[in-house]
């Protein structure tokens, strides 16, 4: 690739709208251009990166036995009505009508379409399992699209779907895809972790997210420092070991706490530690109000609570609803309350603790469950904290990291196959719904995540496997015929030997070219300068910054070694 011909326009200044590093650098390196909010064009260098990621995804999935298909972006509403998601998806789903006023969806995902294909074609257990995937545009009408390729409205995903006769077969394919995903993200040169996650609205039960670890990640991941355990904060559990507590139970006592509402205020006012207080909250489901208790220094994990209650949503009750229950925000407590009470297991061994008085400006001290009130269910409903014990191994401690979700694998079970009647005839001749798995990769998001994990103050540092070109040959002085000649020779030689190479043949200062090379993020710069007098060029490793003078004859070997 010749810079003199390349359509690339790097920017010195960071565009104002860019908040995260990948957005800033992909714009500055001229790899993407914004067309509309959350909608980007890929320029030549950027599209090469995207296609390299696509290529790796395709190779690894083909190797794992999945088959590539392509399903339409435009999907008829009828299928979404059949699955029940037409009403559930809300404003995030982009919809349109055609000239005959028929409703269509711009596919945010393709469970309905693929299930429709399979139900029409597959009849017998003999034809299962199948794993079909595609790499296709997806649409999500984010309320506030941002972060460039990280959270767009039109983006690329690889989405795959597997169909099975039984749980064993599904589990086998789930592990197969887990492994394929490990291979994919390893080959992309990324540091990542597969973490347990909540399965959300897609349905199903088991799911893992693949998180690229980066400080800017939107998700918090907790992982064990000893074993493989890692989980999204939404899902993370810990082994809670309650301390022995030999205190004697004291008598419940109501005290005045004028205007002290938060745990902090109350603890300070009463001169107790937060761990000796219990926070009470009112949550509501579609059917019922619950009082939820948690130790004062913890927060409630709504996802865990929702799963515990087996509902699709829980929300905090608002002030009016609380008043209607004759309770008072800031002074909530379990004593005398008629709601079902759910308590986090952190409370189990507590004694003589502070709770709200259920009167304005009042709290109880020396509260004790089983004596002053009853808990309906104890469970793990807290947001786990850094430093807690690993729930899986014996001596691990949980660490925390930020992660960018680039992939997710689900066991869907029969959610879609039941709704869409995607059945097979089993060995006994009876109809049965197929079990499904589904496997996604945010392809364009992976591109952004790679930048979030690989950059410095000068620009992007592409992993070799997904770099737009690997080597940038830079003649220092374009007026020096010999330098230009050597540079051209090296460029051609590297190209002929299968190295993806660029030459910066623009009539610009060397410093300008170095800056562009670093901003765009080529893994290797080959600088052709005065050193050619002694038969040498300078090779700079973008990642380590290491510079080395290399004999011109040795360059190809040297670069081949670098690449490996």
């Amino acid at each position: 690739m010749r810079f003199s011909k390349l359509f690339v326009h790097t920017l010195k200044e960071t565009p104002k709208e860019a908040e995260v590093i990948s957005h800033k650098l992909l714009l500055r390196a001229g790899m993407i251009k914004k067309l509309a909010s959350g909608i980007y064009s890929y320029m030549p260098l950027g599209y090469r990166v995207l296609r390299k990621i696509e290529g790796i995804v395709r190779e690894e999935l083909d190797k794992a036995g999945a088959q590539e298909i392509l399903m339409p972006v435009l999907q008829p509403a009828e299928l979404w009505q059949e699955s029940g998601r037409w009403d559930k998806m809300g404003d995030e789903m982009m919809r349109m009508t055609d000239r005959h006023n028929r409703n269509f969806v711009l596919g945010p995902t393709h469970e309905e379409v693929v299930t429709d294909i399979v139900r029409r074609e597959v009849k017998s257990y003999k034809e299962l399992p199948i794993n079909l995937y595609q790499i296709q545009l997806k649409y999500r009408d984010e309320r506030r699209p941002r972060f460039g390729l990280m959270r767009g409205r039109e983006f690329f995903m690889k989405d795959g779907y597997s169909f099975h006769t039984d749980e064993d077969s599904l589990e086998k394919e789930y592990q197969n895809m887990h492994e394929a995903y490990n291979n994919i993200f390893s080959r992309c040169g990324l540091t990542f972790r597969a973490v347990e996650a909540d399965s959300g609205n897609i349905g199903g039960d088991t799911t893992h997210e693949i998180m690229v670890l980066a400080d800017s990640g939107e998700d918090e991941v907790l992982y064990c420092d000893k074993c493989e355990y890692a989980a999204n904060i939404e899902k993370a559990e810990s082994k809670f070991v309650a301390k022995e507590n030999s205190e004697e139970l004291k008598e419940l006592e109501k005290v005045e706490t004028p205007n002290k509402k938060s745990i902090e205020e109350v603890a300070e006012f009463l001169g107790v530690e937060k761990i000796n207080t219990v926070k009470a909250m009112i949550f509501k489901t579609e059917e019922e109000f619950y009082m939820v208790l948690i130790r004062g220094d913890y927060e409630v994990n709504e996802v865990k609570l929702k799963n515990l209650l087996k509902v699709s949503e829980v929300t905090l009750a608002n002030d009016a609803e609380i008043e209607k229950l004759n309770l008072h925000k800031g002074f909530l407590g379990p004593v005398g309350v008629k709601l079902k009470i759910i308590a986090d297991e952190t409370i189990k061994n507590m004694k003589n603790y502070v709770t709200g008085g259920n009167d304005i400006d009042n709290h109880y001290i020396n509260t004790n469950h089983n004596k002053d009130y009853s808990v309906e269910t104890f469970a793990d409903i807290r947001i786990v904290k850094l430093g807690e014990k690993c729930p899986r191994c014996s001596d691990g401690v949980l660490n925390s990291a930020r992660g960018i979700e680039v992939g997710q694998i689900f066991k869907l079970g029969t959610k879609y196959s039941e709704a869409l009647k995607c059945n097979f005839i089993n060995e006994n001749g009876r109809q049965q719904p197929m079990l499904m798995g589904c496997y996604g990769i945010g392809v364009s998001r992976t591109m952004a995540a790679a930048v979030e994990q690989n950059y410095d103050e000068s620009g992007i540092i592409w992993p070799i496997s997904i770099a737009p070109y690997i080597v940038d040959v830079i003649p220092v002085n374009m007026k020096d015929k010999e330098q230009v000649e050597v540079a051209e020779k090296l460029y051609n030689n590297l190209k002929e030997n299968g190295i993806e190479v660029a030459i910066d043949d623009r009539k610009e200062r060397a410093g300008f070219k170095f800056k562009d090379a670093d901003l765009i993020g080529f893994p290797v710069k080959v600088i052709v300068g005065k050193g050619i007098a002694t038969g040498k060029v300078e090779v700079v490793n973008r990642k380590t910054g290491e510079k080395e003078d290399i004999e011109i004859e040795e360059l190809l070997n040297y670069i081949n070694k670098l690449i490996k």
Copy 2:
């Protein structure tokens, strides 16, 4: 690829909705599945074909110096309002609104977006020319989508756009793309012709269509039997050589022709040849009515008429409009008419001919222009007929063929750059709009066109370069261990040697497998049967039907030769 694992479901019966052969065969071969009217999913084999065509397109365009980008499907309405096409595109353009009620287009084409990118980035003549292309989904809300991939609502196009400082540069790139297109369709194994065409609503003046020649083509192409001249019927010209006509002019005479309205009726009633009659019609533009004259045996080409009048649309006047002009359909003629009269050049040398009498049930005989009425303009406004003389060479005659338009190249001129203010600073430091070219290929349509041109009663006959797999190895008797073993060995050997090969390892009858192989259209069948006793397998060439017994050791060589 193992058939036992492949997601493919061939059909014995042709689905009722399929009208053309490519639609029938792509459905029957299980390569595509209909999701909604004009919207298809590609199954594994079909998607391989599509991707092969894509690959050829990409390679040839990269070689020609074009640069690949990717622009979004969703485009903000503002750009289309700026170019003026928001109002012009009508119902065929798919539109939608996002959650904030902003209007978007599902891109039917990308002139606006690419021009917007270039106007933001390119400032100087030094940065031109540029040629950017993409392979992207396109949307067109056809009133009556049909013919499968031939005329769909969601389809793949390669669209490319070039930007220039001057006409010479544009012409050079136009020829460059012309050549690239020749290479692309040659490599796809298709018989095609580049034909002159009308540029329609895209604007610009010069344009060629690439037509794959096939009996089912929607377009009629006229081509010279001696030289390179070929044109779409809309555009086709001919050299009209008027016969010497030494007749003396006779006196105009009105005759009764009760109820004789068509040329056929009038000619028969009056006992004259159709070539001695002149047909008159009333056409209207937005501004004016015209009377158009043509020799009785010809038809008017509305595209030529429209271009002659330099308007965007001409239509035939309806009955009411004709009556309002005090004229009468069926009895229209030029004598005494006050409209501007445009006549085809076929009339120039005619004398003493029949025309309408402008009274009901009356015609004139012995009409003569210049004497009985005046013609404003003589021009070529006729639909050219098979057998007329080539307009370019001295002795060629025009032949006719049917064609499927798979590509088109345009010189757009400054239509979009002026509307969107896509300017550059020229060598004299002055702003000037860029000249543009645009270059399209119907990628999914090319897939269909390949089938229209390559099939027989058994199914598809894929050209080798775009076949999903080249060889299908078929063990005749799956119960014969030796046959299966030999087949597996051959399959592995071919695969290791880079041949794209399938093995039909399904436990089915050989005849069933042969039928599938022919329907799907693999170029080569390798049949592993009883011949292995003497060390031979049968190789069948799908296209020629030739069968040959080949030594097992020689198979790889033999197939490599076949492929070349």
